[in-house]
Amino acid sequence: MINSEGIHTAPRGGALRRKRIQRFGFLGMTLATALTVTPILLIVAHIYSTGMPAISLPFLTEIPRDGMRAGGILPAIVGTFWLTLGTALVAVPLGVGAAIYLSEYASDNRWTRAIRVAIINLAGIPSVVYGLFGLGLFVLFLGFGTSLLAGSLTLAIMTIPVIISTAEEALRAVPNSFRVVSISLGATQWQTIRRIVLPQALPGILTGIILGLERAAGETAPILFTVAAFFLPRLPTSIFDASMALPYHLFVISTQVPGMPIKIQYGTAVVLLTFVLGMNIIATVIRSRARARRRW
């Protein structure tokens, strides 16, 4: 067709049809997004509205009393804090180190490809299997007993693959031309990594670390056999102490203790959720800040 200005245009019917398809497409994707987000918002809203009344200073700072039906949840909060910190101390250096090796030093051969496949598979192993592995290796064989140490190491093994994959991806996203230029200016490979590659990849690496730790903080199965105490109304004093932890405590008071006030169950869920969401928000802030600051 040729319009009044002599410009070729598509037949009208076709344009209308394409427009309609486009509108349907958008509608479908909007619906899909809404369907994904709505349950999350509902869960969060339900837990916070039911649990917030339980949140008080004593609830956060006192030990449980009366068979956990009263008092606070401080031992569980402290336990989860130490577990997460211990996991970070082990998993971050190992995970980031392995990612640097795989991305910057290892050549692409059958061996490194096998390592990558193994890492991806490790990330898919059910967490209860990690729990059993931790029981066998750390608690029994190495004799750490049910302890913060055994729990942290078990959670670290579970977290390391997540950190390796995300950190390696972040490192690979740094343009190779930066490396070549840096080397051409007389930098060693390590200087190049330290001064150029790592700073560029840091936001991505941090995001991966936090997302991995967040998952570790919320896991129940791996700590079930390795660290968690059913009821231990005192704070851990060494890394060889068993400890309460938020996810396991939530499991216990939700299923194992008769006559448990609902308020306390939901209050515990609020604390755990806030812990995890807080880490998530930190990760998001780091990422968006870094994106705004990016210099290429």
Binding site: I183, S184, G186, T188, R195, W296
Partner: protein, 266 residues
Amino acid sequence: MVVPGQGADGLFKPEQVKLRIEHLSVAYSDGTESLRDINLSIPEKATTVLFGPAGGGKSTLLRTLNRLNDLADVVDCQGHVWLDDVDILSPKVDVIELRRRVGMVFARPVVLPLTIRENLTYGLELSGEQNRSRLDDAVERSLHNAALWEEVHDRLDEPASSLSGGQQQRLCLARSLALEPDIILLDEPTSGLDPISTGKVETSLSHLKQDYTIVLVPHSIQQAARTADFAAFFLGGELIEYAVGRQIFTNPRDQRTEDYVEGRFG
């Protein structure tokens, strides 16, 4: 008399030779661009142009001269490259030190994700220079030499990526100069630049050759003719002809050089 493939004996005095390439052969694992038995002497304080169609081996030769090819997938590298009587291909050579003496400017301007000043001091700081005033001197001197000082002297602490493409490429040149190298290698440094920026780069190069040995892969035959004191024509990994610039572009000896210079093939 210049014999093809036999270097440029007689083009300049032996004591002017900065780089002497002897029987250099390079092959990549994927069988792409390679070099076969190159013999070539490059004089100090002059611009030597390596030109010819793509895939002829010019970039490979440049990347061999500061051992950047170490990063590439080279399966075979034979021969010698003498820089002031040191064979830089020898495994005993300090590659880091070599790369400080032989600077490189790439086709695409790649500024490091740092400020303008940090880009310029990067190499010096890595080599251990910490003296603030010496670093500042190097920044100013190299920016002057790359004809960039006027444009950036009041914004040295801004991200280098805020510069225009032409400015970024001159920053890359200045970054090499900051290390006070003996030799500057340039691989089609103006291929992405507008004519005005290209002119600025060429002008700085024409000043720089009074103090530095410049090896340039030009992005066009016109640029080759404008800038060359000496010119080497590469075709299919071989050195076809090496002569004084004026001569090779007006009166080439080899038929293949003539065909290329007159535009019968690209």
